[in-house]
């Protein structure tokens, strides 16, 4: 059943554009969930914008936000809603969503806020077109799956895993329901082995998750480097317009500037930062602090060096500090005579545009690995990851029971069936009737 009485969360603003993004939480628990992630201890007041911070446990990001609580029924969905406005960086927004999921929200399906608004009489169904797809889709996931080829491949893989689990469950169920059939449907060792296979496959999918999230949600690429090396120039080169101010004065860029760019079909959020050095004033100090936080959550760092100047201590320190991060060293100002030799990295001239294509390709390769984008099935959203993780947990529990050996099969089955239910939230549910079909087709049952 499509639940309409739990609390859901999602980024409510379209991705990319704009400096501000909004994460919306709707449902009876929304206020509790929001308050649990905000650093401010006092409860949220109705309809008052509260300036505070979000502490996102999993990534250690702390960002400033404005949180507003809209009690039911005067809200977008007609339920209790908390809207959290944050810096528009998708990674920050995603981190807030993940935090909300950890506290107990469920990721909203596409159109689900609108569905709730409709259910609560806030909107006409005819207006809420996104809802139509939802109503037509057999599972909430299908609505999303239908629109994305990549997810199709993924669903295929989860389907296969589910089918394997299903057939294992059928054998176990058969031995419970048909105890005097004269043959054993499955032995514990075999059960354990087959659960392990399924666990292994889910592991593989989950470890592909990081790469998958890059594909679906885009990566955050942060440009860092000492002042005046040409970070903003490179940022503009990749964006394709003069978005950032470029000047010969060191310390030009003070705040984070981000822009959504498409690199070979890959959605990338590019972030320009203030040059790293001893700050000369309060604003710059804050800018540098933000630059550090941004590089902390970057999927990929572009470490810019000025090729026309010998490497400075600031450069060396930066390279040292980021040695364990996924990064590309970009030696800029290739149009000027080189002041040092350096292995690896990419050489460009932001002024002439030379090497821009190499840089683009290097970024894509580094974000996606060597595999071609189109064929790789990958976990593409937090919800998939969450469901697979839950399935994984129950399967591991089942396997432990099987291996210990003194727990009756029906408890093992309770875990296996729960795991199956999680997978089938993604790929569509099978009924107990289809389980019996499977048993009868496969085994000659009955007297």
């Amino acid at each position: 059943m499509f639940s309409t009485d739990d609390s859901i969360v999602a980024v409510a603003t379209p991705p990319g554009r704009g400096g501000i993004g909004v994460v919306r939480i709707s449902g009876p628990e929304s206020r509790r969930i929001a308050e649990a992630m905000l650093t401010r201890r006092e409860p949220l007041e109705a309809r008052m914008a509260t300036f505070t911070r979000v502490a996102a446990k999993s990534t250690d990001v702390i960002d400033e936000v404005v949180a507003t609580y809209f009690p039911a029924p005067r809200s977008y969905t007609g339920e209790d809603v908390v809207e959290i406005s944050a810096h528009g960086n998708p990674v920050v927004l995603q981190a807030i969503v993940v935090r909300a999921l950890e506290i107990g929200a469920r990721l909203a399906e596409p159109g689900e806020f609108t569905l709730r608004a409709f259910l609560n009489g806030k909107r006409d169904l005819i207006q809420a077109e996104a809802v139509a797809d939802l109503i037509a889709a057999a599972t909430p996931m299908q609505a999303r799956v239908a629109c994305d080829q990549l997810e199709g491949t993924l669903t295929g893989q989860i389907s296969e895993i589910d089918a394997e689990l299903f057939s294992l469950i059928a054998s176990l169920e058969a031995s419970l329901d048909f105890p005097d059939e004269g043959y054993h449907f499955i032995q514990p060792a075999e059960t354990s082995r087959r659960v392990a296979v399924v666990v292994g496959k889910i592991d593989a999918l989950l470890s592909a998750a990081r790469r998958g999230r890059v594909i679906r949600e885009g990566a955050t690429v942060v440009v860092v480097g000492r002042p005046n090396v040409g970070k903003s120039s490179i940022f503009n080169l990749l964006v394709g317009s003069d978005r950032a101010i470029v000047a010969a004065v060191a310390g030009t860029t003070r705040d984070l500037i981000s822009e959504q760019v498409d690199l070979d079909g890959l959605a990338v959020t590019l972030v320009d930062t203030a040059g790293a050095r001893e700050a000369t004033d309060e604003i710059e100090r804050e800018g540098i602090a933000r630059a550090e936080r941004a590089s902390g959550i970057a999927t990929l760092l572009l470490i810019v060096l000025d090729g026309s100047q010998p490497l400075s201590r600031d450069d060396e320190q930066l390279l040292g500090r980021t040695s364990d991060r996924s990064s590309i060293v970009v030696t800029n100002k290739a149009d000027l005579p080189a002041a040092f030799e350096r292995e690896g990295g990419v050489s460009v001239s932001a002024r002439t545009g030379a090497g821009a294509e190499d840089l683009r390709r290097a970024i894509v390769r580094s974000l996606t690995g060597e595999e071609s984008l189109r064929d790789s099935a990958a976990l593409s959203n937090v919800r998939h990851i969450e469901l697979l993780t839950q399935a994984h947990t129950r399967l591991v529990a089942a396997q432990r029971l099987v291996d210990i050996g003194d727990t009756p099969e029906e408890f093992v089955l309770a875990d296996l069936q729960a795991a199956r239910a999680h997978l089938e939230e993604i790929v569509g549910a099978r009924t107990s009737e289809s389980l019996l079909h499977h048993i009868f087709d496969k085994f000659c049952i009955g007297k």
Binding site: T4, A137, L176, E181, E409, F411, A414, S432, G446, K447
Partner: protein, 621 residues
């Protein structure tokens, strides 16, 4: 004209429970049957129980029904199936002496003063203004009634097949009901056709069992050394009196089947009805699973001093002479005499989506259906529906709320919900895998789950209630004792016995045997009560999780859909979904969500629409 509160047509396993339950609720009951000799008859295998079916019997018993007591009184071999597994899937099964079984039930009904026998053939219900007013017999006799329960088994347009022979009949040698079938059709019910079968019966004296065992053809199958009763009220008297025998088919038998397959009505197109796949005919076993070298066959005596031997696993519809050939091809049966050939029977059934959760039809008020007419197979499934239907017919007459059991409360609840929500494509049999909350629905706690409910509506009498109360108190005392008794661990720490029990490898019998805890039990039900407590303590985590998930479903099941609700009024629903809803007419949002082909969001939209219109109606009021 003679009138009754409730008339029950058919005195099979559904009919007798229906009549008995309605009478217990204080209604006057007319029980209409062709003959008193076939009351609670077992036309198929002479056995009660089995996986999930045994659960149904325990539940029937917990609700004051007959079946559990009847089989305990007349069973001749008892087994608890799945003993090596957990208590949630333990299931009792027993061979019955079929004559004694029938006689026992007959007597129980005769002792019930509220029940009158109407011997004869029912022709058609009398319906006035869309509600039942009485019953017309085929000799023209009229009886008045306020509720009519139809439990006619395979009699509706029954057609028996034995090879090319075709005979209209409800069961062996009994006439079918055409008129009743036609009158039901005239109300507009969605009627389908199913098929079931039965194996040949052999003469006991024509088989040399000892020799066959000696020569290794048969293996003796005996009952449990300590037989477990079906009924919560049985305290003694269970006796294993017979042996059954296990043998196997051979390649030669399979070859013979293949050789004569065109003579099988199942394989030459003569039979249209759909048979149960969990109970395949011999033809199906051989044709569909050619890789199986042999299939199991059980020889089961139909009573202590009955000549017939039931050949379980050998049901077929081949011609008589081929059946004889096949029987004699079985190892050890070379001289067997076939008393009666096996046959296939096709019959009409009413799609159970025509029914409400009370098993009353949507179309005709006061008309209730139970048993095979609803597409189920099995005595236990029939009896369970009979009990529900009898209670509900009576409750309707008394103007009270119907008895509707939840999917997390009883296998009976699972079955009724499956039937009315999904309909039947093949004969419906109960399986434990159909019950998603199986862990909660055990045979040991059937009474704890259901007896209080039954007592509230009047199904359970005072004596039974007193016995139950004692047992319930004993159960809570035992549970408390386990929590309060401190025992020592290997490491010397003192922890509660229940905590100790949660550790792997620790069993309650062990704690009792070592004298660490002292609990009280009744002798006959001891092993079940021990299992009951042990299970609740040991797997408390699983049970808690199960209850939580059941509660989530319950919330949806509490949201009611009004009678005669017009689904076309709900915006956003596709035409197909509106059609599915209108066919099934779900009574709750939960039931709506279980209808095949209905999407989750469609259900959410329905739920919200209902909530909003409830608000606006409240506003208007």
């Amino acid at each position: 004209m003679t009138s009754f509160d409730v008339i029950v047509i058919g005195a099979g396993h559904a009919g007798v429970e229906a009549a008995y339950a309605a009478a217990r609720l204080g209604c006057s009951v007319g029980l209409c049957t062709l003959s008193r000799d076939t009351v609670a008859h077992m036309p198929c295998n002479p056995a009660v129980g089995g996986t999930a079916k045994g659960h149904l019997v325990r539940e029937i018993d917990a609700l004051g029904g007959l079946m559990g007591r009847a089989i305990d009184a007349t069973g001749i071999q008892f087994k608890l199936l799945n003993r090596s597994r957990g208590p949630a899937v333990w299931s009792p099964r027993a061979q019955a002496d079929k004559r004694q079984y029938s006689a026992w039930v007959s007597k129980a009904l005769q002792r019930q003063p509220k029940i009158s026998w109407l011997i004869g053939k029912a022709a058609r219900p009398e319906v006035k203004h869309g509600r039942v007013a009485g019953l017309v017999m085929d000799d023209g006799t009229h009886y008045g009634c306020r509720a009519l329960v139809v439990t006619t088994g395979t009699f509706l347009n029954g057609l028996i097949h034995i090879g090319p022979e075709r005979r209209p009949a409800g069961r062996h040698n009994e006439p079918p009901s055409h008129e009743l079938a036609e009158s039901l059709r005239s109300f507009g019910f969605d009627i389908g056709r199913l098929k079931t079968g039965t194996p040949p019966r052999l003469h006991r004296d024509s088989i040399d069992f000892e020799r066959a065992v000696r020569e290794g053809h048969f293996v003796e199958e005996r009952g449990d050394s300590v037989p477990q009763p079906f009924s919560f009220s049985t305290t003694s008297g269970l006796r294993n009196q017979i042996t059954c025998w296990l043998l196997h088919t051979t390649e030669r038998v399979h070859d013979l089947v293949r050789e004569h397959i065109d003579q099988s009505p199942l394989y030459n197109g003569q039979i249209q009805g759909i048979g149960p796949r969990y109970c395949p005919s011999l033809e199906d076993k051989v044709m569909r699973f050619p890789e199986r070298e042999r299939h199991q066959i059980y020889l089961e005596p139909e009573g202590v001093d009955v000549d017939e031997i039931y050949v379980n696993g050998f049901s077929m519809s081949l011609p008589r002479d081929v059946q004889e050939l096949l029987v004699r091809a079985l190892p050890g049966l070379q001289d067997a005499v076939v008393l009666r050939p096996g046959y296939a029977v096709e019959y009409d059934f009413v799609q159970p989506t025509e029914l409400r959760s009370s098993l009353e039809t949507h179309r005709v008020q006061g008309l209730f259906l139970a048993g095979q007419i609803n597409g189920t197979s099995g005595y236990e499934e029939a009896a369970a529906q009979g009990l529900v239907v009898g209670a509900n017919a009576a409750l309707a007459v008394l103007g009270k709320e119907p008895l509707v059991l939840g999917r997390d409360e009883a296998y009976i609840g699972v079955m009724v919900d499956d039937l009315i929500t999904r309909g039947c494509l093949e004969p419906y049999r109960m399986f434990t895998s159909r019950a998603e909350h199986r862990l909660l629905l055990r045979i040991d706690n059937a009474d704890l789950r259901l007896t209080p409910l039954g007592y509230r509506i009047g199904l359970t009498d005072r004596d039974e209630w007193a016995r139950f109360s004692a047992r319930q108190d004993r159960h809570s005392r035992n549970t408390r004792t386990l929590e309060r008794t401190l025992v020592r661990t290997e490491e010397g720490a003192r922890i509660s016995a229940s905590e100790r029990l949660r550790r792997p490898g620790i069993v309650l019998e062990g704690l009792i045997a070592s004298g660490e805890v002292h609990l009280e039990f009744e002798d006959v039900s001891r092993s079940l009560e021990v299992a009951s407590i042990e299970n609740d303590v040991k797997y408390a985590g699983y049970l808690r999780r199960e209850r939580a998930s059941a509660e989530r479903t319950r919330r949806q099941d509490r949201k009611r859909v009004p009678d005669l609700f017009d689904y076309a009024r709900v915006p956003g629903l596709s035409r197909e979904v509106v059609q599915r809803f209108s066919q099934v007419r779900p009574e709750t949002v939960g039931q709506a969500s279980r209808i095949p082909g209905v999407t989750p969001a469609a259900v959410a939209v329905l739920a919200a629409f209902l909530e909003r219109s409830a608000f606006s109606e409240a506003d208007r009021a």
